[in-house]
C-alpha cells in the first residue's frame, strides 16, 4: 500500500460554521463521521443516548454544507461532583490541524461550565499526541494512567479539567 500525500482542504477559518445539535437530521452525519474515523464501533443506541439526553452539548462543524467535524458529550452527577464527559471528537483528515477540534471542544466545555459542571473528563490513548496536546492547551491534566485500557493493549490517560470555583458576585 502506498501512502498518498494527505490532501489538505483549503479554507479560511470564518468559513467554518459551528452548529449545536439540532435533531435527527444531524444524527446520520455524526454517525458517518465517527464510524469513518474512530476505531470503536458504536451502535445507533449509543449515539442516541448522548444526543437525545444532552443535545446542547454536541456540536457539528460544517464547511460549505459538508459536515467536517463533531463533538459528542454528556454530563451528570458522579460521586458527588457534577461532571462533564467528552465521549467522541472527530474532524476529518483534510481539515485537521486548523483548530476546528479545539473550537468544537471549547464550545462544549463552555456549555458544561455554564450548566454548573465542576469538572470535565475523558479518556485518550497515551499515543494520541494530538489529542493530548489539544486538551493540555485547554487546561486538562493527566489525572491517571489506565493500564491496557484498550483491548489492543494500549494504555489510556484519564484527562481532567477542573474549573475554578465560581466567582463571587459582589
Amino acid at each position: 500500500m502506498e501512502a498518498k500525500p494527505e490532501e489538505k482542504a483549503e479554507f479560511e477559518e470564518p468559513e467554518i460554521e459551528y452548529v449545536s445539535y439540532g435533531g435527527e437530521h444531524h444524527l446520520p452525519l455524526i454517525m458517518n463521521l465517527v464510524d469513518q474515523e474512530l476505531s470503536e464501533p458504536y451502535s445507533i443506541f449509543t449515539y442516541r443516548y448522548f444526543v437525545y439526553l444532552w443535545p446542547q452539548l454536541s456540536f457539528l462543524a460544517f464547511h460549505k454544507g459538508k459536515c467536517v467535524g463533531t463533538v459528542v458529550c454528556k454530563m451528570g452527577e458522579h460521586r458527588n461532583t457534577f461532571r462533564g464527559y467528552i465521549a467522541m471528537l472527530v474532524v476529518i483528515k483534510p481539515y485537521r490541524g486548523r483548530g476546528i477540534a479545539t473550537e468544537l471542544v471549547t464550545r462544549s466545555i463552555r456549555m458544561m461550565m455554564e450548566s454548573g459542571c465542576e469538572e470535565v473528563t475523558l479518556e485518550a490513548e497515551v499515543t494520541n499526541k494530538g489529542a493530548l496536546a489539544l486538551y493540555g492547551r485547554l487546561g486538562f491534566i493527566r489525572a491517571k494512567r489506565l493500564f491496557h485500557y484498550y483491548l489492543n493493549g494500549v494504555d489510556a490517560f484519564r484527562l481532567k479539567l477542573l474549573f475554578p470555583p465560581p466567582r463571587q458576585v459582589l
Partner: protein, 674 residues
Amino acid sequence: MADKPVYEEASIDGQPSKLASIPASDTTVWADASPLLQAACAGLRDGELIHGDNFNLFAAMSALEIMDPKMDSGIAAWHKGHSLAQTVFSCIYLLRLDRTAPHALLHSYCRIIRATCKAVVSVVSDARTHEEEDLFTMTYGLPLNGDGDDKCLSILNAVEETISRQLRACKATSSKRRLPEDLEPLQSNPNLEEGFCKALLCRLRFRKGRGLESARKHIASCLTELESILKSADFLRSCFDESCEGDIDDKTTASGFEPIGFDAMLNSRLSAPTPPRAIKILSWKKGVEYFVKLLHDLDVICSYSLDPHLESLLRFVVQFQKSQPDLVARSHLQLLLVQDGKLYGRDPFFAVINKAAALPEATKNHDIQKNESFLQLGMLVMNLLKILCTNAAWQRRKLGKFLQDWRVIYVQLELAFRNEYGEVSSSSNDENTCMKIFQHILLWVEEQTFWIAFRFLILGFELELYSTGEYCMVYWYLYAVLIKLAEKTHLMMAVSHDTAKRKGKKKKDSPKDLARESRIPPAVLFLQCYICLAEGLTMMLAALRNEIPVFHGPSPFNTEHEKFVQHFELLQRACIPDHVSYLSYKESTTHARFSTLAMYNYFKDAQRIAKEVKSSFSNDPERLAELRKLEQVAEHNSVAQNVICRLGALDPSLKVSFEFSHHPFFATVVVKRS
C-alpha cells in the same frame, strides 16, 4: 392446517424462496404485518422512537454487533491480559481433553497445559493484585479442573522417556533403518525423525524439586530448552513444502503452518460478559520472548536473599519493578513476600517494624503489639508490600489513597502515646520501654509516609502524567517532600545509632567516633543530592516561566492553581507535608529570574555531593549506578543553566526542552538556539 409447516415467501432479487418456519397451531395463525409496520413508520416523526416500557437508552448501548474474531491461540496472549476462552481454550483438544487419551503425547501435553493454567490462575487470584488485568482469572466455566491432573507430571515423565528413547534410537541407527518395533515414529519420513524428536523434547522437559534453589535450576534449564525451541524453528519450517504467505515473524507457530485444532469461534459465547472483540494473538516469536522474560523475572525473585530488613526489601522491589515484570511474575513475588500474614511466611510484621524502627531485638515480642493501632500498622506494612508489587499505573493510584491511611495511623499512635504518657516522665522500666517503642515507631511511620509520598510523585514521571508546564510545581513539591524525608531519615539514623551504642560495650567515644557522628550519614547525603536537583530544576523552570511568557501560556478554562489542586489533592488531604500550599509554591517561585538563577547553582552542589558520597556505596552497585546518573543530570543542567542565564533574556529564539535520557525522574534540560 395444524402441524403443517408453513412456508414463508420471501422475495430476494425477485426470486421467491421457501423457508421452513414455526408452524401455526389450532389457536394461532400467521398474518402479514408489513402494511401495519409501514403505516407505523410513516406515522413516526423524525427523532421519535417506539420502545417497550423497560427500554432505557443507557442500557441499549450494550447492544453490540457480534464480529468474527481472528482465528488463533496462545497462552502468551492469555498472560498478556486476554481471556482464557479466546486464547488457550480456543484449542479443541483442551476443551475435550478426554478425547485425546489414545495419543499419549498429545494427551499428556494438554493435561500439563490445563494444570499449569490452573496453577497460574491460583497464584494470581491469591495475590489479588490484578484489577486491570481482570480478564485473566475469569474462566467462564471452562474446564480447568481435570481428574488425575495431579498425576500429569508422571504421565509427562513417561512420555518424555519414550521420546528420549526414540531420539537415541534415531541417532543410533546410522543407516536410518526403521525404529525398533515398540517405538512408534512421530511422522512418516525417517530422515526427519531425529529433528522432530528434538523439537518435541525441548517442549516437554520437566524436572522435579522443591525450594527456591531448585527453582533456579529449573529456570536455567527452561531457558536452555527455550533456546532449543527457537532453534527448532528452522528445521520445522523446512519440513513443510508450502511456502508460507506473509511475514514469518507474524506467524503463530514455529513452522509457519496454520495451527490444527484451534478455532476462536469455539467459545464465542463464553469469552466475556459482552461478545468478544477481535484480539491479536501474539506471534510465535513474541510468545517465546515472553516466556524468556518471565523466566528471567522469576529467576530474580528466586535468587532474592529474603532480607529481614524492610528497607532493603523495599529497595529490592523497586529495583525489580524497573524491568517491568508482567502480572504472573509480580503475583509470584507478592506471594513470596506475604504469606500467612507474615513476611516471607516467616517474620511477624511487628518484628519487621521493630527492626525497621531501630528498636532493640528484645522489644519485638513486647505485648504492646496487641494494641489495635500497632496491629493496624502491621496491616499497613503488609498492604504496602502488596501495592508495590502491582503495575505502575495501579500502584500510583493505590499509593495516593494509601497516604491517608498512614497519616491516620500516625495521628492514632500519637494520640495513644500522649494519652498514656502525657507530659509525665515515668520511672518504671516497662513504661520506659513502651515510651521508647512509641517514639521510635512514630518517627519511623513519618519517614515511611514521606517515602510513599516520594514514590507517588516520581511514579508520575514514569507514567508520563506531567506535562512540561507542570514540571515546576512537581519538582517544587518533590523538593518539599524530600526535605522532610531527609529530616526523618537523619533522625531515624541518629536514634538507630543510639540503640547500637547501647547494645555495644560502654566505652568512651573516641575522637574518630565523635567525628563520624557529626558527619551526615551517606543515606541522608544521597537524599540531599536529590534535594539539590529538585531545587535546581524548580528554580530554573520558575525563572523560565517568569521571564519568557510564551514558555507557559494560560489556558482558557482554568489556571495553574486548579492544576496544582488536582495533582496534589491526595497529598494535601493527608497534609503531606504540613504547611504546603499553592500559595507557598507561588511565594517560592514568583521572584525567580535569570539574574537570581545566576547567583546560585544547585546543580554544582548536587555534583559535589554525588562525588563525595560515592565512596560510601562502593559495595552497592545499584546506588553507584544511580549516583552516576545523578552526576550526569547535574552536569548537563549546570551547563544549561549557565547558557540560559547568559542568553535567556537576550535571545528570544532560545528553545528549551526536557529529556529523561539520563535519569527516570530528574529531567535533563536541553537548550537550543533555533
